[in-house]
């Protein structure tokens, strides 16, 4: 069956315009904050090159070297035209972690997830499946946990958005973040910010006391490393002390 690779990944390629206002060079953008939650042991490191800045530099190089046909197949100019057609709603102010961010020329297709990561550079929120199946992108909107990949940024003007960066920072961790550290609630760490956002939200939800009920309440967050037992221990500890 000609289940074409091109078609299947078309949605990924057509996201290019959202990034078009960023240069694909490993340059530190002035508004970029190095806010990835870094391992505590690295807290003393003063090098302010984030993992992201470093990797996106590598990405730019390999893109040029390796995937010319893909890049050639999607002229960046074409979607930009479409972007200018949708003048309405293209400037939006989002309130994130108590701060207002005015974003100009925002593509209506930009999800809240991509906007947080690519425009506001709050990269603690992770993109896993991009289809609401893994929970890595979990953030709070008006205090409730949601999948930021399934929502357009334009829909969130006036909302109070909280990301992992707004929950706590190294040196001033939220009790849930500290409990994840204490109980080793992760291995690779990719799902961790989503797990913690879910765990913080469930403190305010009518969830029962049993392990089964807590597991059920955390089931929207998938951990490929299988740190579930430790995650459960962390959540239970914070709930018992709340």
């Amino acid at each position: 069956m000609a289940d074409s690779f091109d078609m299947r990944f078309r949605h990924l390629r057509s996201r290019t315009p959202e990034r078009s206002d960023h240069e694909l060079v490993p340059e530190f953008a002035p508004d970029q904050q190095s806010i990835d939650l870094e391992p505590l042991s690295l807290e003393s490191a003063t090098v302010r090159v984030s993992r992201r800045t470093f990797l996106s530099g590598l990405g730019a190089t390999s893109l040029i070297a390796g995937t010319v046909p893909l890049a050639a197949a999607t002229p960046v100019a074409e979607p930009e035209q479409e972007q200018s057609e949708t003048a309405e709603g293209s400037t939006v102010t989002l309130r994130i972690n108590g701060k207002d961010y005015t974003l100009k020329n925002l593509d209506p297709r930009a999800t809240l997830l991509d906007t947080l990561r690519e425009r506001v550079h709050l990269t603690g929120t992770k993109k896993g499946c991009d289809h609401g199946q893994c929970g890595a992108c979990t953030v709070h909107v008006n205090g409730r946990r949601v999948n930021s990949c399934l929502s357009f940024a334009l829909m969130h003007e006036g909302d109070e958005i909280t990301t992992i960066e707004g929950v706590g920072q190294p040196g001033n961790l939220h009790a849930m973040q500290a409990a994840f550290v204490e109980h080793d609630g992760y291995q690779c760490g990719y799902c961790t910010s989503g797990q913690i956002m879910s765990a913080v939200a469930l403190l305010k939800e009518p969830i029962g006391e049993s392990d089964d009920e807590v597991k059920q309440a955390m089931s929207g967050n998938i951990c490929r490393c299988g740190a579930y037992t430790n995650i459960l221990a962390a959540v239970k500890q914070v709930r018992s002390r709340a």
Binding site: P108, R109, S151, E205
Partner: protein, 331 residues
């Protein structure tokens, strides 16, 4: 994703203006997903999140009015729903994840689209892609001869065997909800049983809505006095998974005999499936294992399994027997 115009509607009137060429977006949990897959390609999105349809109110006749924008989690945790319609609360909490339930709305869930993997394939219904009559009428159905473990065994046609995925709808079918719609032709109500359409020769037509129609409320009739209800969902894993078979039962037993019964099923039908056959086999009969078994046989008598989903026939029967036992237990 194809680009689109985005409009935020401040009220119902504004939402309806020009909506015929547009799609409404509420929680986005189905629509955004399917837009990324090129299944949905709306030219205009009308954001209805500001509409004042987010209340749950008691009706004078003892029923309950649910605004179309009420989120699944709010509906599931509502005290009136938990007390008077536990089957609905249980069904909602068995579906999706807490994050998705915080986003997904009552109106949106009525329009939830199938998880058929051929339907969800970006190129389905296009030349060179899988056949999908839901995507492109006349392009065929890849599921009928393909991998069809999750597909329907009731209400299918030779054009489509896609399963209706909603849990909420199964409970609402058992509760005989009424859907309120506002559109270009004014306001009207649609009985739950008439809302979802069988695929027949037109699987691309999934419900009774017409272009520009907006779901505004869902009314639940007054709870049946003395009745108990339950929702049982069977699936490949214990949570965050679609039903392979589910059942919603509303039953009243008096003197050991069944005096009121509604039987609906999920995971096995092309629409939220009400089994009048099972109800007929139960009504007036003693509430015991033999009756439940006979009802389950009646419910599945017309089942049409395919290559990979024959197991669903037995699974659905056992699902019915178990849930009937729970709903009619006297203790």
């Amino acid at each position: 994703m194809e680009t689109f115009n985005y409009v935020k509607a401040p009220n119902v009137e504004k939402a309806l203006a020009g909506a015929q060429q547009a799609k409404f977006i509420a929680g986005g949990t189905t629509l955004v997903d399917l837009m990324k897959l090129h299944v949905e390609t709306p030219k205009t999105l009308v954001d209805i999140n500001l509409l004042p349809l987010d209340k749950i109110e008691k009706l004078p006749d003892g029923g309950l009015r649910i605004g179309a924008m009420v989120r699944n989690s709010d509906l599931a945790w509502n005290d009136d729903v938990k007390k008077a319609y536990p089957v609905l609360s249980e069904a909602l909490l068995s579906g999706a994840s807490p994050q998705l339930r915080n986003m997904a709305t009552t109106g949106g869930n009525l329009l939830q689209r199938t998880r058929c993997m051929y339907f969800r394939e970006p190129s389905a219904g296009t030349p060179g892609g899988y056949g999908c009559n839901k995507r492109t009428p006349g392009s065929g159905c890849a599921a009928i001869e393909g991998f069809n473990r999750i597909h329907a065994i009731l209400g299918t046609s030779d054009k489509c065997i896609a399963t209706h995925p909603s849990d909420m709808c199964v409970a609402m079918a058992a509760l005989e909800a009424v859907i309120h719609v506002e559109g270009p032709k004014g306001k009207r109500t649609i009985a739950f049983a008439d809302f979802h359409k069988l695929p027949g020769d037109t699987p691309h037509i999934e419900n009774a809505l017409e272009p520009g129609d907006l779901i505004t409320y869902v009314d639940l009739p007054k709870p049946v006095e003395g009745a108990k209800s339950t929702y049982l969902k069977l699936r490949d894993r214990a949570s965050y998974e679609f039903a392979l078979s589910s059942a919603a039962i509303v039953a009243r037993v008096e003197g050991g005999h069944i005096r009121y019964i509604r039987v609906t099923m999920g995971g096995v039908g092309t629409k939220p499936w009400r089994s009048h056959e099972a109800e007929a086999a139960l009504m007036g009969k003693p509430a015991n294992a033999a009756t439940f078994k006979a009802a389950a046989e009646a419910a599945l008598a017309k089942a049409k399994p395919h290559k990979d989903n024959a197991f669903k026939v037995e699974l659905a029967k056992r699902c019915l027997v178990r849930s009937l036992k729970t709903a009619t237990a006297t203790a």
